[in-house]
């Protein structure tokens, strides 16, 4: 007994002091798509970006209202063309135990600017020079940009590793809350929470029914979005499963080809807007899991216009507008609508078709596999289509979506909308500090709303179904709520 007691004491001490020796608890998160790359700069798909946000930390973080705050660095604005970065007072360390340095930040920033596959190269093209001293990084811009700080939401990896694209993409080393452990055969990954040593395994299952069954049986602990909405009701009925949701920023819209001779007529676009009963679609198809939208930016965003009048469902108004152009149920207007092969999007298309038929518009639904569908939209081969904007955080999106310089392939002005007034407002707003730009952004939204470039449809909720009760999704659909939930254990 004497011999055993010290041994037990030591074992107990080891177990307390070294949490990694305790068998790690693993949570399984079923996702629909595997991440393509875990490279901090070159990853471009949503799945990679969400997982990377757990592994890496950005230079500048964005707060709940999408305003820039300190990340790995603190930023100082000297004037609209000169900024400096210093390491944040909190020490950060990569998973290879090296401290994060200014050189790592500089190297990551330069890779994001210059790598031919970097999706951020365009956003950072305004940088004229970067000068790094022992204490700080000085950044000079080619032209004034008051919102440059938010463009530094760029992940940082060790300088030496950045030269090895393939290694970093497969064995990422970051300073985020989670450490990469392994990549499975299905492309899913396992991460370990630094503080609690709890592990999370992302497993890939494309089939939504199977993901739900996995959750119901306990093979998976977490699901997020990408499920038919009637399934959430099924999950809510299960006492072992908690379904948490929050209003999201994903904005769905019905897009018009403004270069089309029929659709460039205001009356036609307005008639379509009045003929669509968005409330019913949200109620029945989304089971209430979406909020009606009036503008691209979600409610609560600092630049979102709070008082735009909604295009209410009014089939009579729609019929009247069409009648002025000679169209009626007996002499219907023929239009085509392109969408993907996603079954839920096809159901929405069928409802649009029915609602428009009621007012005298015959909608021909053309469904294509995603690559072909998106290729057609960018090439302008469409009359009507529907898509969503995901993860909108900055009003810079207005240039990208509505400016006449942003016609595809040099932007996402997919509807071919050209307005000198909107172009000018966008350019003016970009040159003003945040608060002063607000009235201009509201004017832009008013004009866009009046011109009905899109029919704003809804902002889809972010929904997490899990077997643990401590998860609350965030509005952008990222997985960063896991950092807090795992940290509590």
């Amino acid at each position: 007994m004497r011999l055993q007691q010290p041994i037990l004491k030591y074992l107990w001490l080891i177990l307390i002091c070294c949490p990694t020796l305790v068998v790690a608890k693993t949570t399984t998160f079923a996702i629909s798509n595997a991440p393509n790359s875990l490279h901090p700069i070159l990853a471009s798909d949503a799945s990679s970006e969400r997982i990377n946000a757990l592994i890496y930390q950005p230079i500048i973080e964005l707060d709940g209202n999408d305003r820039p705050i300190s990340g790995l660095a603190d930023i100082t604005q000297h004037d609209a063309q000169h900024y400096s970065l210093v390491l944040s007072s909190m020490q950060h360390r990569f998973s290879n135990n090296a401290d994060v340095s200014l050189l790592d930040i500089e190297a990551s920033l330069n890779l994001a600017r210059h790598h031919p596959r970097s999706p951020q190269a365009q956003t950072l093209s305004n940088i004229a020079s970067i000068e790094t001293t022992e204490q700080s990084i000085l950044i000079s811009l080619k032209k004034p940009d008051y919102r440059f700080a938010e463009k530094l939401h760029i992940s940082v990896a060790p300088k030496d590793m950045l030269l090895e694209d393939e290694t970093l993409a497969q064995r990422p080393i970051g300073s985020g809350a989670f450490i990469w452990i392994t990549t499975q055969g299905d492309g899913g990954v396992t991460l370990r929470h630094r503080r609690s040593a709890e592990e999370i395994r992302f497993v890939v299952n494309k089939d939504p029914t199977m993901r739900v069954l996995k959750l119901l049986k306990g093979e998976a602990s977490i699901l997020q979005n990408d499920l038919p909405h009637e399934m959430y009701r099924l999950l809510k009925d299960d006492p072992n499963i908690q379904v948490a949701q929050t209003p999201g920023t994903t904005f769905s819209y019905l897009g018009f080809n403004m270069a089309d001779p029929i659709l460039k007529q205001d009356e036609i676009r307005q008639a379509i807007a009045y003929a669509i009963n968005r409330q019913d679609i949200v109620k029945h198809l989304f089971q209430g899991n979406a909020k009606l939208a009036n503008t691209l930016l979600a409610p609560g965003h600092w630049a979102a216009h709070p008082d735009l009048p909604a295009y209410e469902y009014s089939p009579d108004k729609a019929k009247h507008l069409l009648a002025t152009l000679g169209f009626s149920k007996d002499n219907p207007l023929e239009l085509s609508y392109k969408t993907s092969t996603d079954p839920f999007r096809l159901r929405i298309a069928a409802v649009f078709q029915q609602q428009l038929r009621e007012v005298g518009i015959h909608l021909k639904i053309q469904s294509y596999e995603w690559g072909s569908f998106f290729g057609d939209i960018k090439a302008g081969r469409f009359q009507l289509y529907s898509l969503s904007w995901v993860g909108i955080r900055s009003p810079d999106v207005f240039r990208y979506v509505y400016h006449s310089d942003s016609l595809p392939p040099s932007g996402a002005n997919r509807g071919r909308y050209v307005s000198a007034e909107v172009d000018q407002l966008i350019e003016q707003a970009e040159e003003l500090p945040l608060e002063k730009s607000l009235p201009l952004y509201r004017k832009i939204q008013e004009k866009i709303h009046r011109d009905l470039v899109y029919v704003p449809l809804w902002h889809e909720d972010q929904i997490v179904a899990s077997r643990r009760g401590d998860l609350k999704p965030n509005k952008h659909g990222s997985y960063q709520y896991l950092e807090q939930a795992f940290g509590q254990h």
């Binding site: 190269a121 299905d186 494309k206 199977m210 069954l213 093979e219 998106f374």
Partner: protein, 303 residues
Amino acid sequence: MLRALLDRFWVLLGVITLVFFLTALVPGDPVDVMLGERATGADREALRASLGLDKSIVERWSSYVINVMQGDLGNSLLKQRPVTDLIQERLPATFQLAILSFAIVVAIAIPLGSYAARKHQQLGDHAATVFALLGQSIPNFWLGPMLVLLFSIYFAWLPISGNETWQHIILPAVTLGFSMTAIAVRMLRSSLLEILHQDWMRTARAKGGAESQVFWRHAVPNAMIPVLTLLSLQLGALLSGAVITEVVFSWPGIGSLLIDAIQQRDYPLIQGIVLVIAVLYIVINLVTDVLLGWIDPRIETQS
């Protein structure tokens, strides 16, 4: 044999060429997938050049063929890894699933097809026919979830999806094997029924051998010739990745990799996977020809 190999080389070259040009015709641009819509025209052109997509299609084809001959299938555009590595990672899972499904087909189809033929127009034959009809009628995308509901949810005997343990392979293998078994049962049954009424079978019986001996020694080997051809094609289909089954059960084989590659316009990966599938088909056909010649030497003589 040399001639046969040479013939297959030309087939392979034809497949490479066809797949290369068909892939190039598919709408959609990998540069869009990689850079998104925010990139400038200059960025897009730079990336296009770095990927070699700025060259003419004939130039791209000739360099692709030369690289393939040297064993280099290129790099995946999106995963930024050698295509050969990605395929090598997925092939073992595909082989496991294909072999087990094939074993199920052989283990069930030969006894059941033989039994049905011997019990022609009896209860056993009718039961086998109904089984074959069901197997051919039920699609995999329905059968898979039904098996999951029954064996994973209701009885809780087997896991739903993934590939962590040996139990994970059972449901996808049964799903895949079910329809193929049905086809093989029908083929073997009808082939045997035809053979059992041949004159030479009557002669074999007249020699005084037991019915079972005549059946297994004379009828079954002869009936196996069309069945073997069919099974080889099925094995080829299994090895080329059972796309739907792999997607439903999250089985990490080359079928699900191919789907991802097509959706993301990852040209080198699509071409690499199709090339590997073509090679597998060619090898299986070659082995089948040899086997058929071994079972029935007349086939080799005629060819």
